[in-house]
Amino acid sequence: MGTAIRTSGLGRRFTTGPRRGRRTIDAVADLSFEVDRGERLAFIGPNGAGKSTSIKMLTGILHPTSGTATVLGLVPWQDRTALTRRIGALFGQRAQLWPELPPRPAFDLLGTVYGLTDDACARRQGELGELLDATDLFDQPVGTMSLGQRMRCELAACMLHEPELLFLDEPTIGLDLLGKQLFRSLLVRLNAELGTTVFLTSHDVADIEQVADRAIVVNHGGIVHDAEVDDMRRLLLATKRIEVLVGAAADPTAVGAPALTTTEPFGLGTTLRPAEDEARVVIDVDTRVRPVDDVLQTVLASDLAVADLSVLDPPLEEVISTIYTSEGP
């Protein structure tokens, strides 16, 4: 197995503002963790938690101001060029394919950059096309693709040189529900079939649940939680949220949601949350106590005039808030 990533007291301090009144910000502080080879790790936290800064240090494109780190046995900011040949990186908001061209010529260039022969590069494109179900896309101009299709091609681009470790920074951002699900399943498949270590940053709870086998939660630059996802799911991700839109669409005469009790409005395991408007009912379900489909049945059978209904994950900020409440800052 072996260790893919090892950090100890890793930190990054930024100095901002004009010369007078300069202030320092610890974007990352005292980060210590290890990731095994072949592991799928979700590195999660709200905006500004230090996720991207950490990924930049681990890929060698940003020097830390304190601490040490090794990635695949190399110090990223000292051995960056050697490391780039062994890692892949996908930044959800930074494309590396050109919109006017199909991916294939860009793959040819990247293959050359990584020292692949033309034959090896062509073979790899064939294999990745099959694995990512994207062969047809490789000859289609990137600009004509949906975001989900483009992200599959971007993923192929960073897997071309068969990296041992894949860094993904918010890869599912902007994707629709189906696109997200497909992308997550591809990551799991890449890990299962190639043994690629996956280091994923996200602030989407579903990314953790469906991709990772372990999650590190960061906030204010430090680690606030580090656990197997199964444990985390039991302890922290056991809440599902049901949003019910009531009134006009179902019954034009209805003016809004009826009054409900805050505690157990739909029986055991349910809690009523404050809603944005009176046409909306928001219910939290503790899935350790009661399955969500059972609550859905109760809601549909109730007097509530249901116009629309969705089952959501609680926002990550709330999960982290739960972590704080349970463990202290």
Partner: protein
């Protein structure tokens, strides 16, 4: 926790690049980058047509101005006949107009927004690949302007003063364009430290327009200024191809251009190396 072995993709036994594949030779990478970008530009017929139309318009207007000026001064200005001036302008406009006008701000924007940092994730030279991409992007435009420019100059001014110099014009244009691209990368690289590229862009434009002889032969400038300008790289960007196409058999200009390309290339590489290291240390 998953800890699967790492077979080659599809079980073909192909070695991963990370497993010790030899580094790609830089010229091969640059050639691939250049041809890829050339393909992109060649596929954009609308942009090429716009570029050509702008060239025809500007060259026609400037050629008429210089012809009128020469006529009012007895048919010659600082040793250039009206015909020579038309060929001079046609060549300098080919060399300079083939380059995207906002190149410095574009690169500067990539630097200041830190989009450039993802390029550090590839085992190759960031600056060299960027230059290769830009040269590839510009080559089809230069080829088009040359194909249009030669007959246009012929139509506006008549036969070239010495047709033999047209043979020197072609390599001179390629060297001028490449040097121009590298110089613009050097100016843009200053934004690693200054945080903006607009001022450098403004300065570069003025230096090429006047000090480089794009709008007028350097001999028109005051003697002292012309003397200095001739020894600056900007003259190799515009004045050199203009001088050759206007009937001056001075092949040593090609050596001057190549020399500047080596010097400015080294300087730009140093600026990018220093700038990227600065960015890695300083962060946001």
């Amino acid at each position: 926790m998953t800890a699967a072995p790492r077979p080659a993709l599809g079980g073909t036994g192909s070695p991963g690049a990370g497993d010790g594949a030899p580094a790609a030779p830089l010229p091969r990478v640059l050639w691939r980058a250049l041809t890829l970008s050339a393909r992109r530009t060649a596929g954009d017929a609308g942009q090429l047509a716009l570029n050509a139309a702008f060239y025809v318009l500007v060259t026609t207007v400037l050629a008429q101005l210089w012809k009128a000026a020469a006529a009012s001064l007895g048919g010659e200005i600082v040793g250039y006949t009206a015909v020579a001036l038309v060929w001079y302008i046609a060549a300098t406009e080919m060399a300079v107009n083939s380059i995207p006008i906002h190149l410095i701000p574009e690169i500067g924007d990539d630097i200041t927004t830190r989009r450039i940092e993802v390029e550090l994730l590839r085992p190759t030279s960031v600056m060299a690949v960027r230059v290769a991409h830009t040269v590839g992007r510009v080559l089809p435009r230069l080829a088009l302007l040359t194909v249009i420019g030669v007959p246009l100059a012929w139509a506006l001014g008549g036969a070239p003063p010495r047709p033999i110099t047209l043979l020197l014009l072609l390599p001179s244009l390629v060297l001028a364009m490449t040097l121009n691209v590298v110089l613009q990368h050097a100016f843009a690289a200053l934004s690693f430290w200054f945080g903006e590229a607009k001022s450098g862009w403004f300065l570069f434009q003025k230096l090429v327009f006047v000090g480089g002889g794009m709008l007028l032969p350097l001999e028109v400038l005051p003697q002292g200024v012309a003397g200095v300008a001739r020894y600056l790289p900007f003259a190799a960007v515009a004045y050199a191809p203009g001088r050759l196409s206007s009937g001056h058999v001075e092949p040593w200009w090609l050596a001057v251009q190549a020399g500047w390309l080596v010097v400015v290339g080294g300087l730009t590489a140093a600026l990018f190396t220093g700038g990227l290291a600065h960015m890695q240390r300083q962060g946001a």
